[in-house]
Symmetry: C2
Subunit: 382 residues, 2 copies
């Protein structure tokens, strides 16, 4: 399965993946998912949020045990973030000695990374109703295409999907670790504890477009200087409050060498061990932005998200003494847990901790240990 | 003519123009140019650099008096920068009491702004040989398309065009002023003196891609912080040396909200009254960039460019006492003057000095004064 996925959406220049939701590359990934499911006798259905589900048995009679993750990527992302969980789900199914009477589901969540429309976990949030359908349908990508035009579900059907939610007895998402905690403990596999509170903010920094060769410095309103101050404020505030804050995306208009920009838009990602420190970081950033004549808009916010404690305890009982880790990254399993769907996570060791990069890696032996753990969990939960 | 050009390439959102070289919008502008020329009995030819020339008479017998400018724009540029010179050229021809025996040419220079391929005055530089054909053909736009694929001239023919250069007895480019010198003097029209030395530099700031939600601040190599320092250095150095320097274009990779960027590329535009101060600005910027682990590459450099003094004196003799102005902006007339082609410029007052912006403006009465001056210059040079 890994060999089949490897070439899809890989940029020959960077070696990174550009697997954005509902693009031709994503369609190829979805075809692969359907093929892998049908080869195993599973029935593939699309839910009202554009997520793909492959079912063994009838989950409308008995809720199933669901495994899976997502196949999309950030721009120039790694091979493991997402696909490792989907491939491991199929491998765990293959590893069962016999097909059980309890239904089993494998899911490919849509647009987890939010690389195309700017909102992470779009598929799981739509599914649970955490993202309103009107808001989702109106999201536009960089080319101005609306999500509603490409999601593949009629606009009138998009939204919280009660039937699909009822089908999920428990959801376990296996994922490559995006830090080095398992390197420190010396374990190949860990269990997720909770997801840090995190959010995204858009910062609009207005200026005045002008000719770079003729406009006196004193006559300029150059928003690039405001961007410089913002980037430094983001880092300083994160440091002061022992949190994480990042300015990783910028849009400059008109973005021409010989023009003072008319405006700069920047995005801030902030996370921390508790909500208070993240809010403190944002309050400092917003005060500085407003003082500079700009505006800060919250695009998303997710409070601290514990995975379902009873399910995590079941995983510990099945797997024995493995580390239990908090994570700074958002995941579809967190969205489901917040909505009351029993959900848990397994992490596979990442030797460098690097993620969202072509350098993202996991050793084959650790991936196989992950599959073995997921197989044990699946068998234990059935 | 102004009414015909107005809708072409105008962005309905910003009200600015997006007229990039060799795009469908540019093709429409070129069709307009051909139509306007043929309606006046001129013969339109393309030179070896992709520039359009409309000729009255036979310039291979006697070199002609050439008027014109360019029709392309920066992203979200104004209506006047370029087109005012082309429209005024046709209007000056229309204003002649009778067609003379001396040939007259009107030119539409290709890709003056360099908005698509990053090099300004591509058409005039190719024509004079200031830009090597191999270098030009290899330039790529943001989508990876090479200039050689779209220029509309067979690659083997692209380059310095001796025949076209011999046809130009004198070139006069009328242009909207990109500053407020004429506002201060109270004149509608001025004569160009020289173009400040100016250049473009590309700054590469490497980093390490990583997940914004899981990578400790201390473990990051975040090139956005280097960008912030660069933007501040550019402004500080320009101020210190009484020059102009601008960071107006940035490319962040992968430019995702939840990723520490792997790299940032920024472009610096710098100009000043003399070469020494521009070089002093760049030396400071380069030292800071190198100290931060980055790299600065010169993409273009044009020394101080006086227009042809004898031709400028002729214009003064024809027009009487009008101001003579230096300019910080590059122009095709400067490229031609540097190559030894007699070239001069007329500037039309700009009430705000704003340029390269939808707010760029010139009063109709000043534009008509510009046409009257250009008509007088044309008649006087014939």
């Amino acid at each position: 399965m890994w060999d089949e996925l490897q070439p899809i959406g890989r940029d020959p220049g960077t070696g990174g993946y550009r697997r954005y939701a509902w693009t031709p590359v994503d369609a190829t990934l979805r075809e692969w998912f359907t093929g892998a499911a049908e080869a195993r006798g599973l029935e593939v259905v699309l839910d009202r949020a554009g997520n793909q589900w492959a079912w063994w048995g009838n989950p409308d009679e008995t809720p199933g045990v669901v495994l899976g993750s997502h196949l999309d990527s950030v721009p120039d992302g790694g091979a493991f973030d997402g696909p490792l969980g989907v491939v491991s789900a199929f491998a765990a199914l293959d590893g069962l000695p016999a097909r059980p009477s309890t239904p089993i589901g494998i899911v490919n969540f849509a647009d987890e990374e939010g690389a195309r429309f700017g909102v992470a976990c779009t598929g799981s949030r739509l599914l649970t109703g955490a993202l309103r359908p009107e808001a989702a349908l109106a999201l536009r990508d960089g080319d101005g295409t609306a999500l509603g035009e490409v999601i593949g579900v009629g606009p009138e059907h998009v939204g919280r999907d009660e039937q699909t939610l009822r089908r999920i007895g428990a959801f376990v998402e296996l994922h490559v670790e995006q830090g080095r905690a398992l390197v420190d403990t010396g374990d190949a596999v860990g269990i997720g504890a909770s997801i840090w509170p995190h959010g995204r903010w858009r910062v609009e920094l207005p200026g005045e477009a002008n000719h770079a060769g003729t406009t006196a410095l004193a006559d300029r309103r150059d928003p690039m200087l405001a961007l410089a101050a913002l980037v430094q404020q983001v880092r300083a505030s994160a440091q002061r409050h022992d949190a994480l804050a990042t300015c990783g995306k910028v849009a400059v208009s008109p973005n021409a060498v010989n023009a003072v920009p008319s405006s700069v838009t920047a995005w801030v990602d902030a996370r921390g061990a508790d909500e208070a420190r993240v809010r403190a970081v944002l309050a400092e950033i917003e005060a500085a932005v407003v003082a500079a004549g700009g505006r800060l808009v919250e695009e998303s916010w997710t409070g601290s998200t514990p995975f379902t404690p009873s399910l995590s305890r079941e995983l510990q009982a099945i797997l024995g003494p493995v580390p239990v880790l908090p994570t700074g990254a958002g995941h579809d399993a967190g969205v489901l847990a917040t909505a009351g769907v029993p959900s848990a996570m397994l992490f596979v060791r990442n030797p460098t901790g690097v993620s969202h990069s072509p350098a993202e890696h996991a050793e084959e032996s650790d991936c196989l240990a992950g599959v073995a753990a997921l197989t044990a969990v699946l068998a234990g939960l059935l």
